[in-house]
Assembly symmetry: C2
Homo-oligomer: 423 residues x 2
């Protein structure tokens, strides 16, 4: 079989992570190392939007040192997006436009770093390409802090957000511990809209019983207000304080997000509808129904980009899946996503890569399984700890300048001359 | 002069910091090293509350390894409090109770680690002790993330919160940079109720013009809504995004906190009174008056305890002031607070200790000076950068376990038998 020659393009999609650039670095460096196959290595500005708008950059023109620095730089250096393509069955315009841009630049390899939606996009592009006989290879690279992609043991990005979150809960937990006579409760809101993987990781901060978090609120466990109040009171009685790790996606038994459901809790509490997130609702409940002061912490986007305390394991694996995507493509693999395959656990933990169908990944979602959730519904099990611990291991190297702050990459973004009419 | 012999007591007060335990470690280790003078080394549980309640712990009984680990453990391991003593002129009860407890245990040395209020307490205790002829020595150890104590170049705790804040703004700034087509603005709320020192430190994240933060809102600069809207629009035009570092203590021209003033902004915006802090008010303004999506980040108590990315300079200086307090007391110094004295700047930065009157510190407050604030009111000057940079330098060592998470000290707290009736 003669290898398909042509340009490669890499794009990043969805919410940034600490290590999505490490994956991009793996793709770019491996592709640049195979000039016999890849006649160019392009990046799409802001994910699939950049392809639609033909905003392409020539990554071969970047300073190789800056490309290498991507390995230890957070967020999406190529730019990301949250653009959802139309349904291929109903409207092929976007997909045809993308393939039109690919054809105009002889782009034959598409490496898409993202979550479910991105895998769906890549799968459908491949499908249309086959239909119209445009020879191309699409390989997906998994990325999501949410850790909810199916067919992969875990997702690059998760280990680092888990590590930062657990350390942060550990540290803020010590704050509540020292000031319980004044600030008795603290709620820390943790990302994860549908799955509780990151909130669960906060549980790793709890090495001894009195450590924070005393209560973990997971999206997988319906929030029952009376039960919660009793749990807080129990913690106050036992530890004189209560630290709550609160998943942003926590829902009431009727399936509403706690933040939105605020209407019922907070109208009650303050006489007006509640804005804000789950942590604000939880605080309102504690202050009005339990009657103690409650603080809220919500690191927001800072948590998913915390490269300054990222997991070395995560950074290495993120690079690995990027490099593996290119290597798989070189072997003719098409329409697949690279997966992480765990071999051994604890100090025996090792990780290799595997493959899954893009379509399968697109349609799957991996919630926190029941055996990882404590029987009280507000803690994690040893099985979860065993699963999660190796993913946080090791301190990722970060370049620190004389001013004590990190040095992160920024690409020069050498834009490629357009060859098509604007859409 | 014969040296005063007796027990030493150390207490921690106010909001925890990443390094208040480093100072405690400096006090404890230096005091334990001088058993000829200090017949015992006690700690007060939860600051001055522990003295009032005679909740004292014998620190000599702690594992020396755990005492040493305090040097790199955040928050207040002895426990802290926000208890304000009554005015000595009006009600001497509390002060007499404290001296009664000191006398019962032959406590002759009082080392109080805290801010203005703590220095006030220590000063007044000393004053009353002289009046009633109870021989004792009180020395203050500066601590506050707010960096607003007078007579000291800077305060232990500031360098670390500044370092974490700047890194976090740098990282979240990259998030906004990559996702500007969706999440166009981000407001990160930063601690500092009265002074803008920490918010200013976010400015260190901005190495090039397009870096975050594009706007710094300082408590020292009145917030004028029309001006702010124009500044956001300018940033959107220039960078397609806007990242705002927002001091929690930002005030309107009539002196109300922005969070409280929400009434006017947010009733306007959402038809109901605004809860929450300054960042919620700023988000409401951006979403309704500028018309773009705005995220809010608020690390809360996690920011002031972020030992996982603390400044090595800060940790060393925090230990230094603790040790210096004991050494000063050994030389008969009384009624003073240890200060940090800067000698040289930039790569020549060195720091020694000095002394200030407790009373002077108690009555002073150091706002961000005008020469540190840019002429636009939303940036910091090179003079500030020169001042702040050395304080963030170096990575503090933290013990990391196999699970990738820090190991922080927790004292066993061997409580001392009570010798007085409860108050």
């Amino acid at each position: 079989m003669t290898k398909l020659r042509g340009k490669a393009i890499v794009a990043q999609s969805g919410g940034p992570t600490a290590v999505i650039n490490s994956s991009a670095c793996g793709v770019i460096q491996t592709a640049l190392g195979n000039p016999d196959v890849f006649t160019g290595v392009y990046g799409a500005l802001n994910g699939i939007l950049g392809v639609l708008d033909e905003d392409l950059m020539d990554l071969a023109k970047e300073d190789p040192g800056e490309i290498d620095r991507l390995r230890r730089s957070p967020s999406a250096a190529l730019g990301s997006c949250r653009h959802k393509l139309k349904d291929l069955q109903k409207d092929r315009t976007d997909y045809e436009r993308i393939l039109g841009v690919f054809r105009a630049h002889d782009i034959r390899y598409f490496f898409y770093i993202g979550g479910n939606d991105s895998m769906d996009t890549a799968a459908k592009l491949g499908q249309l390409a086959r239909e119209i006989d445009y020879e191309m290879i699409a390989v997906g690279v998994p990325k999501t802090i949410d850790n909810d992609l199916a067919f992969t043991d875990h997702c690059p990005g998760y280990g680092s957000v888990a590590k930062f979150t657990a350390a942060s809960v550990m540290e803020a937990g010590r704050d509540t511990e020292s000031l319980y006579t004044h600030d008795t409760c603290t709620v820390q809101e943790i990302m994860g809209r549908n799955a509780g993987w990151i909130a669960a990781a906060a549980g790793l901060a709890r090495r001894s019983e009195e450590d924070a978090p005393h209560i973990i609120l997971l999206p997988e466990v319906p929030f029952v207000i009376e039960k919660f109040i009793a749990q807080v009171q129990h913690s106050l009685k036992k530890y004189k304080r209560c630290f709550i790790a609160c998943g942003e996606g926590v829902k009431t038994p009727d399936g509403r997000y706690l933040g939105e459901a605020g209407g019922s809790f907070a109208t009650d509490a303050f006489g007006h509808a509640q804005l804000g997130g789950a942590s604000d609702a939880v605080r309102a409940i504690i202050e009005t129904k339990v009657g103690v002061k409650c603080r809220t912490n919500r690191a927001g986007t800072a948590q998913r980009n915390a490269m300054h305390f990222a997991s070395a394991t995560d950074v290495a694996e993120a690079y690995l899946v990027g490099a593996a995507a290119v290597e798989a493509a070189l072997e003719g693999v098409n329409g697949k996503m690279i997966t992480l395959v765990r071999e051994g656990n604890g100090s025996d933990y090792r990780c290799t890569t595997g493959l899954a169908e893009l379509e399968d990944v697109a349609n799957g979602e991996k919630m926190l399984p029941a055996e990882f959730i404590g029987s009280d519904g507000i803690s994690v099990t040893d099985a979860f700890r065993d699963y999660a611990r190796p993913l946080l291991a090791g301190q990722a190297e970060v370049e620190i300048a004389d001013d004590g702050l990190p040095v992160y990459a920024r690409l020069a973004k050498h834009m490629v001359a357009k060859r098509t009419e604007s859409r």
